[in-house]
């Protein structure tokens, strides 16, 4: 079984590119990745492409062949869709393909174009990562779902919901009194054009930002890297992916992410490392509560302690265990189907020492990337290590 190296990475600038077609953005990132890798495009044997909502955002299905031609590669090309974990899953499959000896060079990553849509349509597009019948038709939005998790976490462990609406489960007079309708009055077909106001999207969460981006990785076998004298010091040493029930209400825990727990265990076991060995992490903080849940699932904080990790300085840039030196999803934007690949691209640069924030972890040898789909019905974790 061969070692898998990240030969090169390419990213486009995070931000709003409403005027650029997805294929153009993808091509830009791919060419940068090839230049960084020093790998010839004709050596690529597979393209693994992550994308979530291109059918809605660009009215474009079947995007993988389009991205192959845009990147100038001739090989089997496949789109992976696991909501916000699409690119992470695409990379994991690329790792498995190289490790299995089926290919020496795989181009993997993702693209998502979102800022060309108005907020309400993006809200609708993101919501379809949830259960359409039992969540979306019951009013659940993507921010709303994480707000449900945040409130459940605060009630279980404390730490947040201090607004006047925050009710505690231990108040018995509030129990057993609610009737809940799975659909709104008037049904689900009405359409409107209300735009987002500048307030929180779904209490107790508040809105920050969301944008578009695309990124590419060139993954190669160790043998290929040696034969072509590549400078590819970072290896993907462990991957883990797990699936949970789609609807949040059906999970074993509303205040935990069991799929990420198990994906992390699998990735650590494959890499032969433990949580205590991790020097730096990129986690899927699409909302603040998501980072809290992520660091707990990765074993970087105890249950109920993740909420304090950043406040106590553990996970800040100068802490013992910096989390999201890339800026994280909220700071840099969360192009959902591309995010998982960008985490690995940035973590590669952090470990190589050529990331603008590498100085914070100059001696880091083990990094972990945590990518989640929906409300963590999908979770994929990669362990990256400096191999030489």
């Amino acid at each position: 079984m061969t070692d898998v190296r990240v030969a090169g990475v390419g990213l486009t600038r995070f931000g709003s590119h409403p005027d650029r077609a997805g294929r153009d953005l993808f091509a830009t990132a791919a060419l940068r990745a090839f230049e960084d890798a020093g790998v010839a495009r004709e050596d690529v044997e597979a393209l693994n492409y992550g994308n979530f909502m291109g059918a809605l955002a660009e009215h474009q299905g079947h995007q993988a062949p389009l991205m192959a031609e845009a990147a100038g590669v001739r090989c089997p090309a496949t789109r992976y869709e696991s909501a916000c974990a699409s690119a992470g899953v695409a990379v994991r499959e690329a790792v498995r393909t190289v490790r299995a000896g089926d290919a020496d060079v795989v181009l993997a990553g993702g693209m998502e174009r979102m800022t060309n849509l108005p907020t309400d349509e993006v809200t609708e597009g993101l919501a379809i990562a949830a259960d359409d019948l039992f969540e979306v038709r019951a009013g659940v939005t993507f921010p709303g779902a994480y707000a449900l998790m945040a409130r459940a976490y605060f009630e279980a462990y404390g730490g947040g919901a201090r607004g006047p609406r925050a009710r505690r489960r231990e108040e018995p007079r509030e129990r057993g009194s609610e009737r809940v309708r799975p659909v709104p009055p008037g049904g689900v077909r009405r359409r409107g054009a209300r735009r987002a106001a500048g307030r929180g999207a779904a209490a107790p969460l508040r809105r920050l930002s969301d944008h578009g981006r695309r990124e590419r990785l060139v993954l190669v076998s160790e043998e290929y890297a040696t034969a072509h004298d590549l400078d590819a010091p970072v290896a993907v040493t462990g991957v883990g992916q797990r699936t949970d029930r789609l609807a949040l209400a059906d999970r074993a825990h509303l205040a935990r992410t069991p799929a990420a727990d198990d994906a992390a265990d699998a990735a650590y076991a494959a890499a032969g490392v433990e949580a205590a060995d991790v020097d730096v992490a990129e986690v899927h903080d699409c909302f603040t509560i998501a980072e809290v849940l992520a660091v707990e699932s990765l074993g970087l904080a105890d249950r109920g302690e993740g909420i304090a990790a950043a406040r106590d300085g553990l996970t800040t840039a100068d802490g013992d265990l910096p989390v999201n030196l890339s800026g994280g999803l909220k700071a840099k934007g969360h192009p959902v189907g591309a995010t998982g690949g960008s985490q690995i691209a940035e973590l590669t640069r952090i470990l190589r020492g050529d990331h603008p924030n590498s100085e914070h972890v100059a001696d880091a040898e083990v990094g972990v990337a945590h990518n989640a789909g929906g409300t963590v019905a999908s979770a994929v974790v990669h362990v990256l290590e400096v191999a030489e």
Binding site: T119, E124, A138, P143, A147, S177, V180, R181, G186, A249
Partner: protein, 124 residues
């Protein structure tokens, strides 16, 4: 005959006729369940091990059992978590802000919009 979801398994044409009669196509299993909720007869599908789930469903998602029986949902469940949605998807544009809650309804949890005009209900 009917299957565990209570839908006709050998009468597909009738289902299609029903769909044609509606403005929107019905989703077998789900829409019957909604109708039952509206009538105050909400139910879950429960396997012999007691795992509850919602229709349409043929296999217990927890243990794989294919023996699923209807059990009533609690008419008034315990709110486990809720949120106030201010930025809705387009089909909820006229409803925002609204409260969505996850409720422990006995055999399973149910996610839904809390309406102030329901009996005994209130806004979150």
């Amino acid at each position: 005959m009917t299957d565990r979801n209570g839908e006709a398994t050998e009468n597909v044409d009738a289902t299609e006729d029903d769909a044609d009669a509606e403005d929107d196509p019905r989703t077998a299993g789900y829409d019957e369940w909604l109708d039952a909720i509206e009538a105050g007869d909400g139910y879950a599908l429960v396997c012999p091990s007691g795992h509850g789930s919602l229709p349409p469903r043929r296999v217990c998602p927890e243990c794989g059992s294919t023996t699923l029986a209807r059990e009533p949902l609690s008419d008034a469940g315990t709110v486990e978590t809720f949120t106030v949605v201010h930025v809705p998807s387009p089909q909820f544009a006229d409803d925002a802000p609204y409260v969505t809650a996850v409720v422990d309804a006995g055999p399973t949890r149910v996610t839904g919009v809390v309406r102030s005009d329901d009996r005994g209900g209130r806004n979150g």
